[in-house]
């Protein structure tokens, strides 16, 4: 394992990979330059936001962020205001809410979808393909249309009063499921059938196959999906607004940010700082899980 990892990052070997062929085609230097251009284009807007978040209010509204290079004026006021200011703009509370919402809302659809994918790819049953296509099609049901019926399930129940986050968790789980099943099923059906058959012949039951064969093989795919689902939930506004009933005790960070872009004008200086704070945790999660991406989806399965 270790030696393989070492050799695979060795640049001299890169020509042998699928990507290497293309890279040789465009020429290493032009290719690198092109990648650099894309990277810069993709980063500059966010960099502008980052710099803006440290600029005084009047400066943000009056001049471009690049003027800081010629006329540096920095302040921490924007951050001080959103982290220590009035209760409704104090983002610390909303940050916690977003965390409390996002963790179960990532775990639940993930696990349910892995299990469902197993039912759709390994188990053989009548009508399986039709049901799968139906689930796939459900991805497109607009969220907006599902809000009211789902809200009715929870509204006025005692459970919803005691567990204010429950409806949010369930809603995110439901809205995340179709895509999760679609993605994970696709990855799972790439797992060679021989592996499963071999395990079955050895006398392994479905639980064993699922836990011991599928889960380890699917780990990279699971990690990738986990981060995407986490991001979608973290960045969601509509579900958060609706199922929190507007209640500040459960509203996510995005709702607080949206409230700063009111009808009566925009607090650009607070928004820049707030937007930046909202990016932090997703980035931490991305870096934490990145090793899986580099290993590659199902990389293990193909190599045995």
């Amino acid at each position: 394992m270790t030696t393989k990892a070492l050799t695979s990052v060795n640049p001299s070997k890169s020509t042998g990979s699928a990507a290497g062929s293309f890279k040789r085609l465009v020429g290493n230097r032009i290719g690198s330059a092109f990648a650099l251009v894309i990277a810069v284009l993709w980063t500059v807007p966010t960099f502008g936001l980052f710099l803006s978040s440290f600029r005084p209010e009047a400066e943000i509204k009056g001049s471009g962020w690049w003027t800081v290079f010629t006329d540096p004026q920095f302040t921490l006021d924007n951050y001080a205001q959103i982290l220590g200011g009035a209760t409704s703009t104090n983002l610390a509370v909303y940050f916690q809410n977003s965390v409390v919402i996002a963790i179960p809302a990532t775990i639940a659809p993930l696990i349910l979808a892995i299990m469902a994918s197993y039912a759709f790819s390994v188990l053989q049953w009548k009508g399986r393909d039709i049901v799968f296509v139906a689930v796939f099609t459900l991805q497109i049901v607009p969220l907006q249309m599902a809000l009211i019926p789902l809200l009715r399930v929870f509204s006025g129940t005692a459970v919803a009063d005691v567990f204010p986050f429950l409806s949010l968790w369930v809603a995110h789980t439901i809205f995340g499921l179709p895509l999760a099943i679609f993605l994970l099923h696709n990855f799972m059906s790439e797992v060679p059938r021989d592996l499963i058959e071999a395990a079955r012949i050895d006398g392994a039951g479905h639980v064993t196959v699922f836990m011991r064969v599928m889960l380890p093989l699917m780990l990279p795919a699971i990690a990738s999906y986990a981060i995407f689902q986490f991001l979608w939930v973290w960045n969601d506004l509509l579900v958060g607004l609706t199922f929190s009933g507007g209640s500040r005790t459960v509203q996510p960070l995005t709702a607080a940010l949206a409230a700063m872009t009111g009808d009566r004008g925009q607090d650009w200086h607070l928004l820049t700082a707030g937007a930046f704070i909202s990016i932090l945790l997703p980035l931490v999660v991305f870096f934490a899980l990145q090793r899986f991406f580099v290993r590659g989806l199902l990389a293990g399965s193909v190599k045995g």
């Binding site: 409704s88 509370v93 963790i103 809200l151 009715r152 509204s155 609706t242 004008g265 925009q266």
Partner: protein, 456 residues
């Protein structure tokens, strides 16, 4: 080996979660189990609140568009009421109120009370049979404190549902008193004087960057609303209050010739290259400029006149001197003669979704002059409540607003787009005015398009 690895990641992830929790835990972790409505622990004289009764742990939820600092001020305004009656008020202010209230109510999750920024929206809630008429105590307080005009917008087919709480005056022109003094400009008292002043400014200062007027109508999903306000003010001046009423009630077509003339009067300013858009660009730039950002050009001396409502004050940077001889102040947008004073106003109405005692008590309190004075004293807003003492207004502009609002001679008319059906008032009226300013369509064509969108 694989399971070992799995476990290692598992530990790592669990550790990460624990750390995040610890970090987030500093933020105040209560879920309402411990918070109570207070009761007793206050310096306030509770005698004034006896009429509302006392409650044990009752909770009233209130939704509104009022968020951020304004939201905190609102919550501060009823602190004594909360302390004396024992009612806990859970206020939820969001800028998505307009669509959220609809979803909440249809989903069976309506709040107890809601403060509607538009009477038209309140009317739509009532169409679904969701609202509850104001109770006797509420009605008594409302009738005592508000003029019939103000009450009428909360009245649906003869039944009072909504009670006004806060109001604003839209017929203001913001200017810089110090700049006016430097140049020897006088505050115009008639429309013609204002236009003469405009030409004077062009002659004195006109350049590519400095223009007499500035304006912006960009406001996200509500882009276009400042333009509709401008046009409504013109209708009041060009056609008069009676025609205005007929127009808002759709007794005359939306594109009546008098309305076309009013829109053209707005165009005399907004579409004139020499008059707009100070500090920003040409007339088309109005369509893409955030409305409040446009007004800030007055502070930069790039423009001299900016028509905007009283609540523009809240958009000014901290430390701005807002006074008759300061950095910025407002004068009344003049009519054709100095004798007439048509006034475009707008306001928020509180209506109830149930008749629980606590709900009704809070609604009655919000209708009282005690609350209005409490809220106005905290600052930032005014209320059309007749019982408000102008001395309580937190700024000169708000005092002026309050005086205009309470002026017997002023002919006040409510913001028409807030009263029209939302397909028009929050739909085609906004979008057609945007297209008109953007130069995509002519006055009559724009108004005709709005007329054809009016629902039967």
């Amino acid at each position: 080996m694989r399971t070992q690895k799995l476990r290692r990641y598992g530990v790592g992830i669990a550790g990460g979660i624990a750390m995040t929790l610890a970090l987030a835990g500093c933020a105040g972790d209560d879920l309402g189990g411990g918070s109570t409505g207070g009761g007793g622990d206050t310096d306030a004289d509770c005698a004034a609140f006896e009429q509302y009764g006392t409650f044990e742990g009752d909770r009233v939820t209130l939704s509104s568009t009022i968020s951020d600092q304004e939201g905190d001020q609102l919550e501060e305004s009823w602190a004594d009421f909360v302390a004396c009656t024992g009612i806990t008020i859970e206020h939820n202010g969001t800028n998505e109120f307009e669509s959220q209230i609809f979803v909440q109510v249809e989903g069976g999750n309506a709040p107890d009370l809601a403060i509607f920024p538009q009477p038209g929206l309140m009317q739509r809630m009532n169409e679904g049979g969701h609202l509850v008429p104001a109770g006797d105590d509420v009605l008594a307080a409302a009738e005592e404190n508000y003029t019939e005009d103000w009450l009428s917008y909360g009245n649906i087919d003869g039944t009072q549902f909504g009670v006004p709480v806060m109001g604003s005056v839209k017929s203001f022109v913001w200017y810089s008193p110090s700049v006016f003094e430097e140049n020897g400009y006088e505050i115009p008292e008639t429309w013609d004087e204002m236009m003469e002043l405009t030409d004077q400014i062009v002659a004195d200062h006109g350049s590519d960057t400095v223009k007499p007027w500035c304006f912006g109508i960009e406001s996200g999903g509500a882009t276009g609303w400042p333009a509709t306000d401008f046009v409504e003010d013109m209708v009041l001046r060009e056609a008069g209050p009676d025609v205005y009423d007929q127009w808002v009630d759709h007794e005359i077509p939306f594109d009546d010739s008098q309305i076309v003339a009013s829109l053209d009067r707005a165009g005399d300013i907004l579409k004139n290259e020499d008059y707009v858009n100070g500090g920003i660009g040409d007339p088309r730039s109005i369509a893409s400029t955030p409305w409040a950002d446009a007004g800030l050009q007055v502070l930069n001396d790039n423009c001299f006149l900016f028509r905007a409502a009283s609540f523009f004050e809240a958009q000014l940077p901290e430390g701005t001197d807002v006074s008759p001889d300061g950095d910025i102040f407002a004068f009344y947008l003049p009519a054709d003669s100095a004798d007439e004073q048509p006034l475009l106003v707008a306001g928020d109405y509180v209506a109830a979704f149930n008749d629980n005692e606590a709900t009704q008590a809070l609604q009655a309190y919000l209708a009282s002059s005690e609350w209005a004075n409490s809220r106005v004293s905290i600052g930032g807003v005014v209320s059309p409540n007749q019982g408000v003492d102008p001395a309580n207004a937190s700024s000169d502009v708000l005092r002026l607003t309050l005086e205009l609002m309470q002026d017997e001679d002023a002919i006040a008319r409510f913001d028409g787009s807030d009263l029209m059906p939302s397909e028009v008032g929050a739909g085609t009226f906004w979008s057609q005015m945007t297209a008109w300013i953007d130069g995509q369509t002519e006055s009559d064509a724009a108004l005709a398009a709005i007329e054809s969108s009016w629902p039967e």
